[in-house]
């Protein structure tokens, strides 16, 4: 009889970090499916490519840092970063653009900061923002036209476009995104005229509304499974909606709320990206502030900034603010009259 000596608790819930990450990945499947149905094979190919790259980069870095490779690879966090990039990048993004995004995400934003748990910025968004700034053309002209799978380029052709750089062929399949289109046309047209463009389709934004709806569904599943809490997504969407209602009610000047919610990366951002635990605020109150600020920033950049979509920049900007938010939003502990804010020695 050899007795294990261990400190309490002796019981543990069997849900490891790698399982949490796996559930997150599974929850993106409806979105990926919708993307594939409406925009062709591009996202799927990107996802596979980015995940492979992410795992490769992570393994290399772990090796260089002298860390146990398989122990950390199994936590699935690198795979999630790759997956999120694959889901966010334009469908026909050339392979090397994706590679730059993924490698900078894993190497710069994650491993150089000390690996899992130590990165102040959302790695996927660092990668995304980097390529958005570095390769603006590639990042705006490669969005697929929303067409049912049958009308889109085949699997082989998509592979060719992405990996062999057949950019001549690509123009036939691409189209400005609804957010981009609306933003640039509304200055000289009425809302009615703008909405004639095929990118909007019959509903809110052809294809995009389904993709956003699917990500919303997956996101709700994460909330239901208590992988994430409702605070960040709800406050993010609320922040975005309130800004839109307050400043952009006139559809002939500003992008309408429906497009804000359903035409860009909003739902993916709200449920899967802004909720990245490592780089988000921690307390409930903090999460509400964090999410709401991201929502406000998304609206601000989309409306008055240079970029048609703004999830990446908004999330990164708020990542900066996280330590500050965390310091000032601790919960009120049982038996205390008020929360102890700030840092020891300082009042608050």
């Amino acid at each position: 009889m050899s007795l294990v000596q261990q400190s309490s608790p002796h019981a543990h819930r069997a849900r490891s970090t790698s399982q949490v990450m796996l559930i997150v990945m599974l929850a993106t499947l409806p979105g990926l499916l919708a993307q594939t149905l409406f925009f062709g094979w591009g996202n799927l190919i990107n996802v596979v490519w980015c995940v492979l790259l992410a795992l490769g980069a992570e393994a290399t870095m772990l090796m260089l840092r002298g860390k146990p490779v398989s122990f950390f690879l199994k936590d699935n966090t690198a795979a999630v970063t790759g997956l999120l990039l694959g889901l966010s990048l334009p469908q026909f993004t050339p392979w090397w653009v994706s590679a730059v995004a993924v490698i900078s995400a894993i190497v710069l934003a994650k491993q150089l900061y000390g690996g899992l748990g130590a990165n102040p910025f959302n790695p996927a968004m660092v990668g995304y923002a980097l390529v958005l700034v570095a390769f603006p053309v590639a990042m705006t002209t490669n969005w697929a036209e929303a067409a049912m799978l049958a009308n889109a380029p085949g699997f082989g052709e998509t592979l060719n476009i992405i990996f062999a750089g057949q950019q001549t062929a690509v123009d036939a399949y691409t189209m400005a995104t609804p957010l981009d289109e609306y933003k640039h046309k509304i200055a000289s047209h009425t809302a009615q005229e703008v909405l004639q463009h095929p990118t909007f389709g019959a509903g809110v934004a052809r294809g995009w509304e389904w993709v956003n709806g699917a990500f919303l569904l997956g996101g709700l599943a994460l909330v239901a499974l208590r992988i994430i809490t409702w605070h960040i997504p709800v406050s993010l969407l609320a922040g975005l909606a309130l800004m839109s209602l307050a400043f952009g009610a006139n559809e002939d000047v500003y992008t309408p709320l429906s497009l804000h919610l359903l035409a860009g990366g909003t739902m993916l951002g709200a449920f899967f990206i802004a909720t990245d635990p490592v780089s988000a605020a921690t307390s409930h109150q903090g999460k509400l502030i964090y999410g709401a600020c991201i929502g406000v920033l998304i609206y601000t950049i989309r409306s008055w900034g240079n970029y048609p979509d703004a999830v990446a920049f908004s999330v990164l900007l708020m990542n900066f603010a996280v330590p500050f938010i965390d310091h000032y939003t601790p919960p009120r502990t049982y038996g205390h009259h008020k929360p102890r804010r700030g840092i020891p020695g300082k009042t608050g």
Binding site: S8, F71, T333, Y334, G335
Partner: protein
């Protein structure tokens, strides 16, 4: 329907209670020997009142706390005291402590008991004393002496008396089974406690996963003012702070006790013990303990004599040493692992789990924190476990304290939910321990400083006094000189010479008195500081005093002689006497100080 509140967070771990509720409470057989730790409660350890070789009867007091808070220990059966030794006791550190070892004679003969049929005829103090004399300390948690808990500060009105039957920890069913089988005794004990405390409300709280216990308690309390309140099953609803929150919506202030908000919590086992102490006159010598886990073939509850070795209980439950992986005393959330099965059941031992590896498996290696916030989500105290962990790991204890580390009840919820399987509670215990050590060291340093400063002050004072004395002597000498000169100028009368002699003696006497007084206060200041800082040694001090007294006597007689003979060494002797008076005074002061200190320490 009683209004209920909720507490934040909490978890629903696998209950694993059915294993041990299928059999009624069984009496445990007499073991070969009983080991009775002298400290089974919070407070001062009890001191043995028996000697090895003594014959004792069942229920006879064998150790008691003479001064300070604490309760006595009784012989759980009749037999011979085999020894008083340091033996392993139930403690997370696996430490050894003083225990009385009792070898049963097998007759189980009771000593004479004095039951009380109508406690109303006694006054409350007498009943409280009876409860203390019965050795009752809290049987659910830490083991706080029950009589003390039943005497809240006078200015606190008790609004609610809570009987905690929540038993939220997985596996443990001791309270559940006690409620099922001994509901009437519980009700009687509760009534006594209510009579002592006069609360406005009297509540028995039970989690809704114990329908039989609820039924039994409802029946037992029918027609009384006691409410049986069914609360939702959620760990840690049975934590004192959480239960108070559920039942009253109030929170125990940080660093305070429930009595601060007018609430007293007692455990159901304690209620049974109180009832027996009053109505049967029996002291607390047994308790219900759950023995469960996949490592025993017949899990269940045992009515166990205090002092029964765990190994004996395990054998009774059909223990298979080959299968078990760890032995836990208490529940799987807050209990601790045992190294040794020889440790005895004590008044607070509610459960022993013989767990196999698949049952409570070793957690996977710790991964980095992903800041997922699940711990904060689940923490019933609304702490930030992840930040606490971060600061504890970085040894940034100030920040950990700032984030209310000391409000952590070590319920284990955060570790339970952590997907990175970080042993968070272990880090908190470590941090708390480090902070306490630091504080103790700080205290020691402060005391040393005070002592040093007092010594400095004393030396300075002594220096000053010496100087003063020197000046006085110089003045006296000068005066004497003058007088001598005057005398030399005119013829000396006999009477004058006599006067002169007596004047000098008076002066010496005066100086002596002054010195006595001055040295006395200085010595007192010094010894006070010294005595408060160190554990005094009475014997040594007494010896010192006697020596000093003896010396003083010799000196004084010498001085007398010198004065009579008008010898030249009067001044020198006078100084020596002063010094010795000083010494005696100081020794006396030190001795009384030391005695007082010992007394107050004993009183604490």
């Amino acid at each position: 329907m009683t209004q209920l509140w909720s507490f934040p967070g909490g978890i629903h771990p696998a209950e694993n209670k059915h294993q041990s509720t299928s059999r009624p409470i069984r009496p445990a057989t007499l073991p070969e020997r009983l080991v009775l730790p002298l400290q089974q409660h919070i407070g001062e350890p009890a001191e043995p009142v028996v000697e090895p070789g003594d014959q004792v009867l069942k229920g006879q007091k064998i150790a008691d706390v003479m001064a300070g808070i604490g309760v006595p220990v009784h012989a759980p059966t009749s037999g011979t005291i085999a020894g008083i030794e340091r033996l392993p006791v139930p403690h997370p550190s696996g430490m050894a402590d003083w225990c009385i070892v009792l070898e049963p004679d097998g007759n189980d003969t009771w000593c004479e008991l004095s039951p009380v049929a109508d406690y109303h005829s006694l006054d409350r103090e007498a009943v409280l004393e009876r409860i203390r004399q019965a050795g009752i300390s809290g049987m659910g948690g830490a083991g706080f002496p029950t009589n003390v808990k039943l005497q809240p500060p006078r200015d606190r009105k008790v609004s609610t008396l809570i009987l905690n039957g929540a038993e939220c920890e997985p596996y443990i069913t001791a309270d559940d089974m006690t409620m099922r089988e001994r509901a009437n005794e519980i009700q009687k004990g509760l009534k006594i406690m209510a009579w002592i405390l006069r609360p406005e409300r009297c509540v028995v709280a039970i989690e809704d996963n114990k329908p039989e216990a609820i039924e039994a308690m409802r029946k037992a309390t029918e027609g009384t003012h006691t409410e049986v309140v069914v609360i939702a099953t959620r760990y840690p609803s049975g934590g004192e702070k959480q239960l108070i929150q559920i039942l009253t919506g109030m929170e125990v202030p940080s660093g305070g006790i429930p009595a601060d908000i007018g609430v007293i919590c007692q455990n159901v086992g304690t209620a049974v013990a109180v009832s027996r102490a009053v109505f049967r006159g029996e002291p607390l010598i047994s308790r219900v303990t759950t023995v469960t886990g996949d490592g025993v073939s017949e899990p269940g509850n045992f009515d166990t004599l205090i002092g029964t070795p765990i190994s004996h209980l395990l054998t009774l439950a059909g223990f298979d040493p080959e299968r078990i992986n760890r032995l836990i005393l208490g529940g799987p959330m807050m209990g601790y692992t045992l190294e040794d099965t020889a440790v005895p059941v004590v008044k607070t031992t509610n459960c022993v789990i013989a767990a196999t590896e698949p049952e409570l498996s070793t957690p996977p290696p710790e991964q980095p924190c992903i800041r997922c916030g699940m711990c904060a989500e689940a923490c019933p105290m609304e702490l930030l476990p992840q930040q606490l962990f971060w600061h504890a790991k970085a040894r940034d204890f100030d920040r950990a304290e700032h984030l209310n580390l000391f409000d952590c009840i070590e319920c284990g919820v955060c570790s339970y939910v952590c997907p990175s399987s970080i042993p968070l509670v272990q880090y908190y215990r470590y941090a708390k321990g480090e902070i306490r050590t630091q504080q103790a060291e700080q205290l020691k340093a402060d005391r040393a400083r005070v002592r040093f400063e007092a010594r400095q002050a004393r030396l300075e004072r002594e220096q000053e006094e010496k100087e003063q004395r020197r000046q006085e002597r110089a003045r006296a000498a000068a005066e004497a000189q003058q007088r001598k000169q005057a005398e030399a100028e005119k013829p000396v009368a006999d009477g004058d010479a006599k006067d002169e002699r007596s004047a000098r003696t008076a002066m010496v006497q005066q100086a002596l008195d002054r010195k006595k007084a001055g040295a006395g206060t200085a010595a007192k200041a010094a010894t006070t500081a010294e005595a408060s800082a160190e554990k005094p040694d009475i014997g040594a001090l007494e010896k010192q005093l006697n020596q000093a007294r003896g010396k003083l006597e010799t000196m004084e007689s010498m001085l007398e002689e010198a004065r009579v003979a008008e010898a030249d060494n009067v001044e020198k002797l006078e100084r020596a006497v002063a010094k010795n008076v000083d010494r005696v005074k100081r020794a006396e002061e030190a001795l009384t100080e030391a005695r007082q200190q010992l007394e107050t320490e004993a009183g604490e």
